[in-house]
Each structure stands twice: as structure tokens, then as C-alpha cells.
Amino acid sequence: MYAANIGVSLGLLVLSGAVVVTAQQLPRTIPGIAMGPGVLPLWAGLLMNLLAVSLLIQNIFFRSPSPKRKVFDPKELAAVGKMFFAISAYAAGIEYLGFGMATCIIVVYLIRYLGQYAWWRCLLFGLIMAGVSVGVFRYFLDLPLPTGWFGL
């Protein structure tokens, strides 16, 4: 946990540093208006800097006597990475394949992968889910969902 916390604080230091630098470039006053758009980002960035430093100090110098705990397990990271990839692929699929088709594919894939049901069940469920969501959202609620290459 300490290593992770130190990592977090270093990451936040970089982030908040970037925020402060960007805020410096924004006008801090605008003629006639007391406070420009640069003020709040500057203060928020500085505050985040302070918090990151305190977290760093706490985790380097003030460790409480607690047992070590691993935060990230490689197996778990791989699993989450896979899921993240699947979700991103779904979003990309919506843009290129169209909402209906992408939904069908992701549903089949997820059910198959998570639940290990028989293929025909996965396929059936995927078709039903895609059909119902397209019917409800695109046609009933009139949401302009992306159609992609095949018009689905």
C-alpha cells in the first residue's frame, strides 16, 4: 500500500503541476470582471500539490505499523485489462459497426466469457438484448444511436 500511495502522490504532483502551469496561462482578470478563469484552477492545483506532498510525507515518514498489503495483483491486472479492452472495443464497435451489432457481439462475448453458458444460449440472449435495446432506445425513445457501416 505504501508503494502504491507514493506512486499516487507522485502522479498527483505531476498532474497538479500541469494544472498549475496551465492555469498560469489563463487570464486571471478580465476587464470589468473581478476574477478571471485562471484563478480557481490555480488554487485547486496548488491545493492538490499540497495534498500530494502531505500524502508523500505521510507514506514515507509516518508509516503506521501495519502488515504489508499488495494492492495490485498481476493476475487481477490482466483480468481488468481484458475487461477494459472489451468495454473499449464495444465503444469503438458502436461507432463503426453500429449500436445494434456491437451490442449483440459484446453481449454474446460477455455472457460466454463470464458465465460459460452454451453457445446457443449466449447467441440467443445477445440477439434478444440487442433487439430490445435497439427497439426501445432507437425507435421508441427516438435516440439517434450510431448506425455504423451496415446500418444496424
Binding site: 480557481l40 501495519s66 451490442t103
Partner: protein, 562 residues
């Protein structure tokens, strides 16, 4: 006032009870509950989608239906918050804190029922306020100028300390991160783009919907893949309806949250999301057992749900009296008024009295419909947690994506939601609470606007806050609350093993609990653990709470054994 209200109200009921109006009111309530249940799709988009109907319908049924969607959504929003830790609406985020913890203990039924009952009680009581005092209360809200709003935002920010979980630093980091998120896009006053990296789409900012869907729904889907087990509760459902004791215990919470929700709801800009957090925090302060909040305290569910419903009724006061919408959903509803040439404002009550009273009466009826609709659904929803997770995950994913997409009909919001999903997962792993982030994301815009206006209002600068009685009072209150929360934390300096006890989110309740007897180990530095158990047992309200205590010991023990 007083007497002359009854006559028009009765006529209003007569109008609202005609089959046509009743029917459209019912449709509105059902749709509201549905969009409330679906994460992401909120009342705003639902009302906007149905707005073209106003070209066909008469004004009264149309507005009755659209309003029904608005307050109905507050009933539905709690459902997914409780069952799968995904708030259907942003206003249900505090509900998830305790509701999900209750569901994990098999008390999803009572949590759902209490949230419906609390919604009904608060909704109806605040309607009484709306009926009798609308004009007076509207005048009251006018005393709030920019400095008062700024002070109010400071008060709301003081809640962060109580939502911070184990580490105050991490809670504050999360809160400041919320400001970062809110700063992307155009500055609310000057319209100058910040942190947009040259993207036109980012200029309109990051919508709350993407943030909340990412942090809750997508992060949930990500982390359950990781666990490779069903996160859905295997515990038996212990009773669907709340016990008499639950009711007795939550009743004061309902009343308090009604008052908070309604009065804050009178102020334009105080959305149900803000008031729900404030009511939740207040309840924690009133409670004799504040440490049980975040671990399945039923009063927490009642407070959050009561407040968001009371706020919806409160919001109708400025809407009807001045034509000022308190939030995006009411702004769209105002558009509906406009379509009919109904100009909300001081003259609405005079010129269109039958319409206004029919609308108010329909809201009483709507609340009754909603509780009738929602209580029997409790059983159905509660069983939803038994749906195998492989089937539930795609459903969560699809509705999240659609919710994010429907914000602006752009895929960018979906991508943002995915990014926040990853951030949310990381935050969980690193024990950074995500709730402060959500709260400050809601507050940031108004905070910044009100600071700017306060500074522009004179040459006194920020000291203007302390020269106006109302803002001074609120500032002092905010200071006192901050001190008291800090003192509360100081008294109970959390030790590392305490993570599960204080953090509202990382408190996992494994299903093994039924099978395995907890191993009791009492090393010295965990001395506070049995103490807490004792404290819980003292109020021994249910087996679950006691179980919860023993679990804590088990976890503490485990850590030592490793």
C-alpha cells in the same frame, strides 16, 4: 393565505382526477420510475425526448405527465444504487453508500422499501409546503444573493470531511480532483475554455452523467471481472419489508431530510444531488451511532431518498413563482410551459390558476401512485440481485453506454465514461473514496460562479460574506460543522486495520460469512476493534449489525495472520 387555498386545491383535484389527466399522470410516474432505474438516462433526457408531445396534447395532461417523470425518477434512482451500487441518478449517490451495504447483508428489500416510503413521506410533506406557502417561501429564497450561495457552497463542502473514509488526505484529494473534473470546459461565467486540449466537444465540459456512470457502473463491471465471482449477494434475503423497528428508527430521518430537502430546494441551483448529500451528512451527525453510516445504516438510505424527493417539490416553488428552474430537468420542463405560452412567474397563479392547482393536485396523486407502484416492485427488484452476474453485466454496460451517449448524442461522453471507469477502479484499489469527487463536481460550477459574483459586487472583496447576516450565519455554521467533523475524526484516529470500518466503499462483505466462523484474534493494536463491536451490540438492532462487527474482527485477524 390558508383558507383560500382549499377551494382551488379541491378544484385542482377534480381536474387532476379526470380519466385523461389521471392516465397521463400515471404514464409519467411509470416512465419516471423507469428512467430513474436506468443508470444514466435521467429525467432531463426523458422529458426532453417527450417534449414534442406538447405539440399534440393539451397543456394540463402534458405538464402533469412531464412533471411525473421528474419526481418519479427520484423514486427509481435508488433501485440500482441499492442493488448494484450504481446510482440511477446523481441524487441517489448517497443512497448507494448505505443501501448497497444493506443489500450485501441481504437487506435489499427493506432498503428498497424504506427508500420508497421515505420518498413518499418527504414528497407528500413537502407538497404540503408547496401548496400552502409557495408565494411566501419564494420571497424567502430571494434573500439569497451570490454571497449567500457562496456561503452555502462552503457549508456543502464541509460535508467532504465526513465522506472521506479512512484517510482525510485521500478524501481531500478526491474532492480536489472533483474540481479538476469540473474545470474542464468553459469557465461558467467568462466562457473561456480551460483544459480542453483544443477539443470543441470538451468545451462544453464533462457531464456529471459520464462521471457517475464511469465511477460507479463501469468501475463496478471492471472490478467484478477482477474478482471472477458474482458480486451479487448470495446471502439470503432476510425479509422484504422493513421491520417496525426500521420504520421507527427512520421516521425522524425522513422528517429531517424533508425539511432540509425542501428548504434547500427552494433555492434555485440546489439540485437534489446536493441536498441528498447534506441530508445524509446531517443524519450522520444526529445519529447515536454515526460509525454505522456507510455500513448499511437504514437511516442513511431514508435521509438521502427523503431529501431528494423533498427537493423536487421544493424546486417547483421557484419554478412556478418566478419561472426559475433549479436544475436541467426543470429547465426542460419550463420549456414545456413555454410551448403552451404559460409564462411561469408571479402572474401564473392568477392567470392560470386551474392549471397550476391541477398540477399540484396531480403531484399528490402521483406520489400515491408511485408508492403503490414501487412497494410491490420491491420484491421483484430485490430478486434481481439473484440474476446471475454474467447476464447482469451486459445489461449494466448497455444502459451505461446509452445513458452516457444520450447526454449530447455524442460518443465522446461514452469514452469519457470509460475513462472514469478506469479512474474509479484505480480509486477503489487505492482506497481513495469517490464520493467526495462526485460532490465537488456538482458543487464546483456554482461555487466558482458565486465567488466571481461576490467579488464583483463591490470593492469589499470576499469580506462581503461577513457583512451580510445570512451569509455570515451560514459561514459560521460551516465553520462549526468543519470543526466538529475534524474533532470527530481526531477522537477516532483510524489505524491501518480500520480501512474497512471507515471507508464507505472498500468495505467488502464477502459471502463466506455464512459458512465460516470468524477467527478472533486480539492483538494489542487492534484494541479498538472489539470496542466498536461492543458499541454496536449495545444498540443491538439486528443480527446483521452484530455480524458486521464480528467480521471486522475477522479481517483484522486475517491481516495479522498473514
Amino acid at each position: 393565505m390558508g383558507m383560500d387555498v382549499f377551494q382551488p386545491l379541491l378544484q385542482g383535484f377534480a381536474a387532476a382526477l379526470t380519466p385523461q389527466n389521471l392516465c397521463f399522470g400515471f404514464i409519467g410516474c411509470v416512465l419516471g420510475t423507469l428512467v430513474g432505474v436506468l443508470p444514466g438516462i435521467g429525467p432531463t433526457s426523458a422529458i426532453a425526448m417527450l417534449l414534442p408531445l406538447t405539440l399534440i396534447l393539451d397543456p394540463t395532461p402534458a405538464i402533469i405527465m412531464l412533471s411525473g417523470i421528474y419526481y418519479g425518477a427520484m423514486y427509481g434512482g435508488s433501485t440500482t444504487a441499492i442493488l448494484v451500487n450504481i446510482p440511477g441518478e446523481i441524487s441517489s449517490a448517497p443512497t448507494a453508500l448505505d443501501g448497497y451495504a444493506m443489500a450485501k447483508k441481504g437487506r435489499a428489500g427493506p432498503a428498497l422499501a424504506i427508500s420508497a416510503i421515505s420518498s413518499f413521506v418527504a414528497g407528500t410533506l413537502s407538497l404540503v409546503g408547496l401548496t400552502f406557502f409557495a408565494p411566501t417561501l419564494a420571497q424567502l429564497a430571494l434573500h439569497f444573493g451570490p454571497p449567500e450561495y457562496f456561503a452555502l457552497m462552503l457549508l456543502a463542502l464541509s460535508v467532504v470531511i465526513n465522506l472521506s473514509g479512512k484517510s482525510l488526505i485521500k478524501g481531500l484529494i478526491s474532492a480536489v480532483a472533483g474540481f479538476f473534473v469540473a474545470m474542464v470546459g468553459m469557465d461558467p461565467i467568462t466562457g473561456i475554455a480551460r483544459f480542453t486540449f483544443g477539443s470543441v466537444e470538451l468545451m462544453s465540459g464533462i457531464d456529471f452523467v459520464s462521471v457517475i456512470i464511469g465511477l460507479f457502473a463501469i468501475a463496478e463491471v471492471l472490478s467484478t471481472w477482477e474478482a471472477q465471482v458474482t458480486p451479487v449477494i448470495r446471502t439470503k434475503l432476510t425479509g422484504l419489508m422493513p421491520t417496525r423497528e426500521d420504520l421507527r428508527e427512520t421516521f425522524p430521518a425522513m422528517l429531517r431530510s424533508t425539511v432540509i430537502g425542501f428548504f434547500l430546494g427552494l433555492l434555485p441551483g440546489c439540485s437534489p444531488g446536493v441536498t441528498a448529500f447534506i441530508a445524509y451528512d446531517t443524519e450522520k451527525r444526529f445519529s447515536r451511532v454515526p460509525e454505522t453510516f456507510g455500513q448499511g445504516q437504514i437511516a442513511g438510505v431514508a435521509a438521502a431518498e427523503g431529501a431528494n424527493n423533498a427537493t423536487t417539490s421544493g424546486g417547483f416553488v421557484p419554478l412556478l413563482s418566478f419561472g426559475i428552474p433549479s436544475g436541467p430537468a426543470l429547465a426542460v420542463l419550463l420549456g414545456g410551459f413555454m410551448m403552451y405560452g404559460l409564462q411561469p412567474g408571479p402572474t401564473l397563479f392568477e392567470k392560470n390558476a386551474p392549471f397550476v392547482w391541477a398540477l399540484i393536485a396531480s403531484m399528490y396523486i402521483g406520489n400515491v401512485m408511485l408508492i403503490i407502484l414501487n412497494l410491490p416492485l420491491v420484491g421483484l427488484w430485490a430478486r434481481l440481485v439473484k440474476v446471475p452476474y454474467p447476464l447482469l453485466a451486459p445489461i449494466i454496460l448497455i444502459s451505461s453506454f446509452i445513458g452516457a451517449y444520450s447526454v449530447r448524442n455524442k460518443m465522446m461522453d461514452v469514452w469519457l465514461a470509460i475513462a472514469f471507469g478506469l479512474i474509479g477502479w484505480l480509486m477503489r484499489k487505492l482506497e481513495i473514496p469517490s464520493v467526495p469527487l462526485i460532490l465537488t463536481t456538482i458543487l464546483a460550477g456554482m461555487l466558482e460562479t458565486s465567488i466571481k459574483q461576490t467579488l464583483s459586487m463591490g470593492d469589499m472583496g470576499i469580506y462581503l460574506l461577513f457583512t451580510r447576516p445570512i451569509s455570515l450565519t451560514i459561514c459560521i455554521l460551516a465553520l462549526l460543522l468543519t470543526i466538529s467533523s475534524l474533532y470527530g475524526r481526531y477522537k477516532k484516529i483510524p489505524l491501518p486495520g480500520d480501512a474497512e470500518e471507515f471507508s464507505s466503499e472498500s468495505f467488502e462483505f464477502p459471502d463466506v460469512i455464512e459458512k465460516k466462523r470468524p477467527v478472533l484474534v486480539k492483538p494489542r493494536r487492534y484494541l479498538h476493534v472489539p470496542k466498536t463491536v461492543y458499541l454496536v451490540r449495545e444498540h443491538d438492532r439486528s443480527r446483521n449489525v452484530a455480524k458486521c462487527g464480528s467480521l471486522r474482527m475477522r479481517q483484522a485477524g486475517e491481516q495479522v495472520q498473514r
